[in-house]
């Protein structure tokens, strides 16, 4: 359906918190480049198997075109995925504690973005639940952040998307959406909470050098470069030791 022609540069990185292995990363990224659909998620640390829930949600969401923004589309998708995940757990023989925790389900923050043509222009629309954050920049200058606009606004307990269908209705009430126009020279950063908080802090401080170093590490397209960049920030306690998802979409 989405036939707009535009040149994109897409960079995506997943970094696990220090001290954990790559299979323990609870952040997730997926995108469908041909349909210009992008998503990240951040599974809740204390929930059951949140890595699976975060990955299932982003991978399923980017497969649908047009993306499921309307609640009439999003709600049944969430329900179907929740049922699928709980069935998968139910088929396993779990120890008592895993079986019990599985009953409470999993939770994840979610952020989805789609670019689409409208009146000969390129537009964007985003949907968010929880504390993943989108940064829209125009020629390198922050134009909009969504749904969080200040570094101090992180650290609260946001309402996340639950896998348990009986809890989903309430969470849908807190989903927020935004849309706008975009074009050549713009880029979008989709960031999970720790890196988003750090990024917004740099913007608030006017730390252009830090942001430039971040952009260069992303542009290098080398996980090692970004890993080293964030490793240094973690060592100096400038960023919380958390999983990191960075998805950058640049419009050329």
């Amino acid at each position: 359906m989405n036939t707009v022609s535009c040149d994109l540069s897409v960079r995506s990185f997943l970094l696990t918190k220090s001290g954990t292995g790559p299979m323990e990363c609870e952040d997730a990224i997926a995108f469908n480049r041909s349909h210009l659909i992008f998503a990240i998620a951040d599974g809740a640390t204390e929930a059951y198997d949140s890595r699976s829930w975060a990955r299932l949600l982003v991978r399923s969401w980017v497969r649908i075109d047009p993306a499921a923004f309307a609640m009439v589309d999003f709600e049944p998708l969430l329900r179907e995925l929740g049922i699928r995940l709980h069935r998968k757990w139910a088929r396993r023989k779990l120890p008592w504690y895993a079986a019990e925790k599985a009953q409470s389900g999993s939770f994840t923050a979610f952020l989805g973005l789609q670019l689409f043509p409208h009146d000969n222009d390129l537009h964007w629309r985003a949907l968010a639940a929880g504390d993943c954050c989108l940064i829209h920049r125009r020629n390198g200058v922050v134009d909009q952040t969504f749904p969080i606009s200040s570094a101090d606004d992180f650290g609260w307990n946001p309402i996340l998307l639950p896998s348990l269908t009986s809890k989903q209705k309430e969470s849908l009430r807190v989903i927020r959406q935004v849309e706008g126009q975009t074009g050549s020279g713009d880029d979008f950063l989709l960031l999970t909470d720790a890196v988003a908080a750090w990024f917004l802090r740099q913007v608030e401080r006017g730390s252009k050098e830090s942001i430039l170093a971040f952009d260069q590490a992303v542009q290098s397209n080398e996980t090692e470069a970004l890993g080293e960049f964030f490793g240094n920030l973690r060592n100096s306690r400038e960023i919380r030791n958390d999983d990191i998802a960075v998805l950058r979409i640049s419009i050329c």
Partner: protein
């Protein structure tokens, strides 16, 4: 800044639960007919262990964020795990998860989704059984906690400091606990001194005092003594208290005097909530 270390598998923390199991713990509690203090406290401890296990459950595995020690004191001062863990002084949480003495079925009232409540059968793992008898050798119990943690800290120097949760219903019968308490409080990891929280419970309907920051509100010397060997609640514990509706001021001590059943539940909920779980 103390009490900011991450709790991880490579840097776990430790909870030591010190339980008064003296003869008076057989008395009724909170005015409820037939509810003994010892039974109620054992239930709360079993529920606490259950919650710690669930917190460490990621998918099918348990992450070893915690070590657990439970020491009872009354006729003797000794570890009080039942079943396969009997006699063990310190146990990693994964072993706790895999070794309840038994799993009972209890009835729990849960919302029925239509504004009412229904009874639901839930599994209730049991790790400790209630015990009563003898005096209140509090000094010996505090000394044993010190000995356990001294050894544990040798291998866990850099983690979040251990937390000792001490519950008693009466005055020490083996001396003034100030000395052993201060000795225990002298232990530390690189993230700060160990934390000692004290909860005194009472069968009387005397006025309870929860998490005071000022000893002038305390009624007697015994309360002053326990206050004197109670740690100040670090910020993450204060936040945990606020999340369950308990208002605590800055500088509040981890100390409850004349606590009722609700105080005991809250004491264990707050005391096992250090932040920074990786």
């Amino acid at each position: 800044m103390p009490y900011t270390a991450e709790i991880s598998r490579s840097n776990p923390t430790c909870f030591v639960i010190l339980l008064d199991q003296s003869g008076s713990m057989a008395d009724s509690f909170g005015g409820a007919e037939g509810l003994r203090k010892a039974d109620f406290v054992a239930d709360v401890v079993n529920r606490t262990l259950h919650d710690l296990v669930i917190r460490c459950t990621k998918a099918e595995e348990i992450r070893s964020y915690y070590f657990i020690s439970i020491i009872g004191y009354g006729g003797a001062v000794q570890p009080v795990f039942s079943g396969a863990l009997a006699g063990k002084a310190v146990v990693p949480i994964g072993e706790v998860a895999d070794s309840p003495a038994r799993i009972e079925t209890r009835t729990k009232r849960v919302p029925d989704g239509a504004g009412g409540l229904v009874d639901q059968q839930v599994r209730f793992p049991i790790w400790i059984d209630p015990g009563t008898g003898g005096g209140t050798p509090m000094c010996a119990a505090l000394s044993q906690a010190k000995s356990i943690l001294e050894q544990w800290l040798v291998e866990h120097k850099n983690g979040f400091p251990p937390t000792v949760l001490h519950l008693t219903d009466g005055e020490s019968t083996d001396g003034d606990p100030t000395g052993p308490g201060k000795d225990l409080l002298s232990l530390a990891s690189s993230d700060g001194p160990i934390l000692l929280f004290n909860c005194h419970v009472s069968s009387q309907r005397a006025g309870k005092i929860e998490y005071p920051s000022d000893s002038s509100v305390l009624p007697d010397q015994f309360a002053q003594t326990l206050f004197g060997i109670s740690s100040t609640l670090p910020e993450s514990f204060r936040k945990a208290a606020q999340q369950i509706g308990v208002q605590v001021s800055e500088g509040a001590k981890g100390f409850v005097f004349n606590g009722d059943p609700a105080s005991v539940v809250q004491f264990f909920e707050i005391g096992t909530r250090p932040a920074n779980l990786r």
